[in-house]
Symmetry: C2
Subunit: 428 residues, 2 copies
Amino acid sequence: MSQLLRLGIAGLGTVGTGVVKIVRQKAPLLTERSGRSIEISAVSARTRDKDRGVNLSSYAWEDDPVALATREDVDVFVELMGGSDGPAKAAVEAALKAGKDVVTANKAMLAHHGQALAALAEAHGAVLRFEAAVAGGIPVIKALTEGLAGNDIERVMGVMNGTCNYILTRMEDGGLTYDEAFAEADALGFLEADPQLDVGGIDAGHKLSLLSSIAFGTQVNFDAVELEGIGSVTIEDIRQAADMGFRIKLLGVARMTGRGLEQSMAPCLVPANSPLGQLQGGTNMVVIEGDQVGQIVMRGAGAGEGPTASAVMGDVMDVARGLRVSTFGRPAASLVEAVPARASTPAPYYLRMTLADKPGALAKVATALGEAGVSINRMRQYGHNDDSAPVLIVTHKTTRNALDQALAAMEATGVVITAPVALRIEEV
Amino acid sequence: MSQLLRLGIAGLGTVGTGVVKIVRQKAPLLTERSGRSIEISAVSARTRDKDRGVNLSSYAWEDDPVALATREDVDVFVELMGGSDGPAKAAVEAALKAGKDVVTANKAMLAHHGQALAALAEAHGAVLRFEAAVAGGIPVIKALTEGLAGNDIERVMGVMNGTCNYILTRMEDGGLTYDEAFAEADALGFLEADPQLDVGGIDAGHKLSLLSSIAFGTQVNFDAVELEGIGSVTIEDIRQAADMGFRIKLLGVARMTGRGLEQSMAPCLVPANSPLGQLQGGTNMVVIEGDQVGQIVMRGAGAGEGPTASAVMGDVMDVARGLRVSTFGRPAASLVEAVPARASTPAPYYLRMTLADKPGALAKVATALGEAGVSINRMRQYGHNDDSAPVLIVTHKTTRNALDQALAAMEATGVVITAPVALRIEEV
């Protein structure tokens, strides 16, 4: 190992700039901790002439990230451009093919191409690390891949989209409607250019698919993540949930079952007094359950310059120290193609619907549930002033299949005016 | 690197047995994840003939752990005997001198001899890892040493003695006195042979001193940890704290200040709605604050066979994967001898005392505080039936020195019947 470790950084947005700052300002500390000098050889971004608040004049400039990735004087290619394909992927591939180690924060790229990139890295004796891609500054990839490597992992859960958690928290605390909270998040600049990445659960789903792969030794399969955004959650749901001692979170859950790998990212009810339930605002949380360790909870900032740059630097320091762990914790060739299974581990469900205010309507709904084998834990019908009655039902534990059967039978009765909202109550 | 990694395990109590079980039961998984076969060559314990619920017949037996540590067929010496000196230290030293890597769960040994052992390891090209020594199954050593290596650490806090947290939780939830809760913990087998290790804060203090070393690049200095046990906490304190929105925890806090390194392990008040405040029963929590990452919270089981064995195996897997990080995250020779500073970062304090029921008693106490520059946030005097009046005071932020001055002045007034209890309110 040379005493010097030279970085090439592609992408100089918030995170890239944060990484440059750390490398410049903490050089002695980084050297003391890693035993090596960490320097930046070259950088690349879409726009060269822009004041980024950091002096880049001593680094070579490349317009083309692929050229940057393959430079002689770059040992580690740090990819902070984003985008699942295009220049980011081309540059990462070029770096790996040149045998250079890669550190990336690109969840979308890994969610879609993780298997191929992991195989490419191994074929060229390079490592590919991505702590910053999941849950910002929380060192969860490291915990799962390394610290808990003696465990069979049983379940991984996470609240990993700060924007969604912010919106849900504002609905609960501020009494805002979904639209109002969404507008507030937008005004604060919390939303991605395509808001569906956030509120549709796509961004968080990308992260969950990466955690699943490490946890269960399976090939990343983002397409098999059941995605449900938070757009259908109403302030009424949040109030009802709170009234019963729950909070609603956009919760990712991955577990390996006899039927296959369940991966879901959907609004769920969790106990208000659990660590997940108590998570407020933009903070992220990941819960890992192993057969030996029991439950490990990790909480921290899920985004932002400092936290994300911290995660990138953790990976850089690992490379500097000579850590050579496979991308997803075991060789790419040994990652199995998991059978995707619909999330159907039995759970209680929260149902909200509006019924026609006719005699027998509630009985029809109850019958539909009973005939599907779904038993009712509690039911409430609310006072109303028109001809539609809001009804809320909490079931006992049931499978998703039985529930879907019940929901279909309810629709068929003709008394259900708005399609029922069904949210899982996750035991945490 | 040989394909085979051979362990010698000294100490076959709960944790040692747990490690044996994992190595036996998860061999394929461990190999897949590390690329190597992990096997046990030999074991050692005080008593050979004892049913430990696991088949040890295929392993060589050594009565002497030093002999075990230096066997030809041992690559990694796993020390799970405990005790700061004696056989554990002798065997670890022998292993390191023989160039063998060491994995240990021995917080007392490292708290007292960490610096010398780290230097010894480096002198012989060996690694010494101790994830299991701090906070059981929580991979906090890894997070602090590796994942957050790009940060200047600002503060480390932890609730790291499950027994103390159990006692405090039972006092709060069950309305037990300290003595009753202590007896209950004892009956459940939660206490060490010498209970002062738990309730005196020594065990948790050992752990804090190890975290400090990594966080601040300082030589382990357990003797400089200000220790205060939970024995002085009364049920009245817990009720008063709860009434004001706080919980009392045996909290370790380490921070580097201009005056030197503060390390304290003492009962503190923390906001009831903070992650630390919400921690119930025997669970541990460590909070790390870095200049880049902000606040990271990690929570999990702090003891027990599975969690501790999980941490030991995490270290074993790291060794198997070829990770060679210095014991405390940087070379032993670069760890500085920190100036120990009394924990005196300004904080609000909770004071409880009993005053003589004489006219002007309260005024004298208030004057003593005022003259020391300590200002009062709230004060309560309680109804009483004898000639002593219980009084509770919460101060505004003050230094510990100013507070001590005030406490001394109070004593001098002659109106204070029982020496005041002073608990810091830690901002978390």
